[in-house]
C-alpha cells in the first residue's frame, strides 16, 4: 500500500538476514569452504564425469559416452587382480596391525622402565615418509645383498632366505609386513591411550574377584577397547585402499601384477598409458569403496543428535 512502509519492512528484513555476525562468519569460512568445494567436491564430480566421457589421450574431451568404462573395469583382468590384491592387503594388514599394536600396547602397559623411550622407538616408523620406508625395505628385501637375506645367512638360517617381494606368490604378504612395521606404533599409541583410560577401579575390582593378569586383560580391558579398535580399523582400511606411495616404490606393483593395487593401477592407466576415462573410472570405484566405510564411521562419531547446536 504505502511505498515507504514496504521499503522500511524490506530494509528490516535484509538487516535481519545480513547481520554483522553473519558477515563475519562468512568471511571466516569463505576461503577454506571454497577450497573444499572446489578441490574436493567439484573434483570428485568432475572425475566421475571424466569416467563417463570419451577422453583418450592427452587432449581433454568431455563428450558424454556411456558407462562403458565401468563395464570394462569389471571384465578387465588387471583391474580384478588389482581389486583382489587390495582385498588381500586389507585382510592381512588390518588385523596384523591391530594385533601388533594391541600386543605392544599391552607390553608397554606393564609399568616398564623407560617406557617413553620404547614408545618413541615403536612410533618412529610411522613418522617416516613412505618413500623412505620404500627404499629402506627395498634394501632389506634385496635378494642378493639385502639386509634380511645376508643376516639369515650369517646366523646359519640361510635356507630361510627367499625372494621376498620378488616372489610372485608371497610378495603381497611381505608388502603387508612392511606396512605392519610402519603402522604398529600408531596403533599401539591409540590402544595404550584406550587401556589407560579404563578406570583403575575396574582393574582393582577384577583383582579382588581373583582374576589373573591374563584374565584381566582378556575379559576386562580388551572388551572395553571397542572404540579404539573401531577407530583403528577404519583408519587402517581407508589407508589400505589408498596406499600408493609405498607400493609404488617398493615393488611398482610387481612382480607382474602381484602387488598391484587400485591406486597403482589408476596411476599407470592415466599417467603412463593416458587412458584418462578408464583411469578415472578406477578412481571412482576406489572412492566409492572408501565412502562405504567412511560415511557410517563419520556419522556415528560426529553426526547425530548429540552434536546438534541451536
Amino acid at each position: 500500500m504505502n511505498i515507504k512502509k514496504i521499503t522500511t519492512r524490506f530494509k528490516k528484513k535484509i538487516k535481519k538476514i545480513i547481520t554483522r555476525d553473519k558477515i563475519s562468519t562468512i568471511l571466516f569460512l569463505i576461503i577454506p569452504i571454497v577450497f573444499v568445494i572446489i578441490f574436493i567436491y567439484i573434483c570428485i564430480i568432475w572425475n566421475i564425469v571424466v569416467s563417463l566421457s570419451d577422453w583418450e589421450g592427452l587432449r581433454p574431451s568431455y563428450n558424454f559416452k556411456d558407462f562403458g568404462q565401468y563395464i570394462k573395469l569389471f571384465t578387465n583382468k588387471i583391474f580384478l587382480t588389482s581389486l583382489w590384491n587390495n582385498i588381500v592387503l586389507i585382510l592381512i594388514f588390518v588385523p596384523g596391525s591391530l594385533a601388533m599394536g594391541l600386543f605392544l600396547a599391552i607390553l608397554l602397559d606393564q609399568k616398564v622402565r623407560r617406557e617413553n623411550v620404547f614408545k618413541l622407538i615403536y612410533l618412529f616408523p610411522f613418522t617416516l615418509s613412505f618413500v623412505v620406508t620404500g627404499f629402506l625395505w627395498r634394501w632389506m628385501y634385496n635378494i642378493r645383498v639385502g639386509v634380511l637375506n645376508t643376516l639369515l645367512e650369517s646366523i646359519g638360517l640361510g635356507f630361510l632366505s627367499n625372494k621376498w617381494v620378488q616372489d610372485v606368490d608371497f610378495a603381497m604378504f611381505w608388502v603387508c609386513v612392511v606396512l605392519i612395521w610402519q603402522y604398529s606404533g600408531y596403533m599401539m599409541l591409540i590402544f595404550l591411550a584406550g587401556i589407560r583410560s579404563i578406570p583403575e577401579s575396574h582393574i582393582m575390582a577384577a583383582a579382588v574377584d581373583g582374576a589373573s593378569s591374563f584374565q584381566t586383560y582378556y575379559r576386562v580391558i580388551i572388551p572395553q577397547l571397542k572404540a579404539p579398535i573401531f577407530t583403528g580399523f577404519v583408519i587402517l582400511v581407508v589407508f589400505a585402499l589408498k596406499a600408493f606411495d609405498l607400493i609404488f616404490i617398493l615393488t611398482g606393483g610387481g612382480p607382474g601384477y602381484a602387488t598391484e593395487i587400485l591406486p597403482i593401477t589408476m596411476y599407470k592407466e592415466v599417467f603412463n598409458k593416458k587412458h584418462f576415462a578408464y583411469g578415472s573410472a578406477i578412481a571412482t570405484v576406489l572412492f566409492l569403496l572408501i565412502m562405504i566405510i567412511v560415511i557410517p564411521y563419520l556419522y556415528s562419531t560426529y553426526g547425530g543428535k548429540k552434536n546438534e547446536r541451536n
Binding site: V112, L123, F124, L136, L286
Partner: protein, 284 residues
C-alpha cells in the same frame, strides 16, 4: 622378586616374566630400528666396502662420500620441498584455525553439517581428484611450479587442520566466548583477543603434523611438478639412480638426507606429533 645369595651378597633376581617382557620389548625395538640402522651403515660405506661387508656391519673405514654425492643431487629438490612445505603448513594451519573456530564457537544452524562435509576431505583417496586437479593446475598456468604444490597442499590440508583445531576449541568453555560477547567483542575480535592467544598448542600440533605430511608426500609431487627443476625431494629420491646398477650407499644416503628434517621435527617436537595423530588423523 626372588632373593638369592651369591657369596655374602644378597641379590634380587627379577621375575622370569619380567625378563621375558624386556626381552620382547628390546626385540621389537630392534626390529623397529633395524632398517634405519642398516641404512646408516650402508650410507657410510664406499662402493667396495659394500661388496665386502654385510649390510648391518659398521664400516671399517666410514666415508662420507655417499652422503656428498647424494647431497649434490638432492640439494635443490630439498630446497624445493622446503619452499612449498613451509608456506603450505602455515597457510593450512591458519585456515584450519579460522574454520575450526567458526564451526565450533560461532553457533549457527548447519555448522555441524558443514563440519562433517569438510571432514570427509580427510578420507578421500587423492586418486579420485587427481585428474581434475591436474586440469585445474594447468588452467591456472602453474603446472610445474612450486606454487602448484603450495596451493594443493594447503587446500587438502584444510580438512585435517579443521579437525585438529575443532577438537581443541571444543574444550574451551562457551562461557568464555559469552563473556567476550558481553564485554563487547564481536566474532573477529573474540578470535583475535581471546581464541588466538589460547591456540598456541593446537598451532604447534597442526604445524608439526602438516609439515610431516606435506614433506612426506609423493603423489602430488609426482603428478604436479613436471620434469623440471622444481621437483620435490621425494620425487628426486626416486630418480636418484640413473644407471643400471644401484649404488645402494648413495641411495641410502639420499634417503637419509630426505628423512633428516622430519626426524629432527620428531625428536624435538614429537609429543605434538603424537597429539596430532591422536586426533583421529590418518597418514597418506
Amino acid at each position: 622378586m626372588k632373593e638369592i645369595k651369591i657369596g655374602s651378597k644378597k641379590m634380587r633376581l627379577p621375575h622370569p616374566t619380567r625378563v621375558l617382557l624386556y626381552f620382547l620389548l628390546i626385540f621389537f625395538a630392534f626390529l623397529a630400528l633395524l632398517p634405519l640402522w642398516s641404512a646408516v651403515m650402508t650410507a657410510l660405506k664406499t662402493q667396495e666396502a659394500l661388496i665386502y661387508s654385510n649390510p648391518i656391519q659398521p664400516p671399517i673405514k666410514p666415508s662420507l662420500d655417499a652422503f656428498g654425492t647424494a647431497f649434490n643431487k638432492l640439494r635443490i629438490p630439498i630446497l624445493n620441498s622446503l619452499t612449498f612445505t613451509i608456506p603450505a603448513t602455515i597457510l593450512s594451519c591458519v585456515l584450519g584455525s579460522m574454520t575450526g573456530y567458526a564451526l565450533t564457537k560461532v553457533k549457527f544452524r548447519g555448522a555441524n553439517t558443514i563440519f562433517l562435509l569438510v571432514i570427509v576431505g580427510i578420507f578421500i583417496p587423492y586418486q579420485a581428484v587427481l585428474i581434475p586437479l591436474v586440469q585445474i593446475i594447468i588452467e591456472l598456468g602453474i603446472y610445474g611450479e612450486i606454487s602448484a604444490l603450495i596451493l594443493t597442499h594447503t587446500a587438502y590440508g584444510v580438512p585435517i587442520c579443521t579437525l585438529l583445531f575443532k577438537s581443541f576449541y571444543d574444550s574451551i568453555h562457551d562461557s568464555l566466548i559469552n563473556a567476550a560477547k558481553i564485554d563487547g567483542a564481536g566474532i573477529w575480535r573474540t578470535y583475535i583477543h581471546v581464541i588466538l592467544p589460547l591456540s598456541v598448542t593446537p598451532f604447534v600440533v597442526a604445524a608439526v603434523f602438516q609439515f610431516t605430511q606435506i614433506w612426506n608426500d609423493l603423489l602430488f609431487g609426482l603428478v604436479l611438478s613436471g620434469a623440471g627443476s622444481n621437483q620435490p625431494a621425494s620425487v628426486a629420491l626416486l630418480n636418484l639412480q640413473g644407471g643400471f646398477v644401484t649404488a645402494w650407499n648413495v641411495q641410502m644416503a639420499g634417503t637419509l638426507w630426505y628423512t633428516i628434517p622430519s626426524l629432527v621435527v620428531y625428536l624435538v617436537l614429537g609429543k605434538y606429533l603424537v597429539k596430532g595423530f591422536m586426533a583421529g588423523a590418518i597418514k597418506g
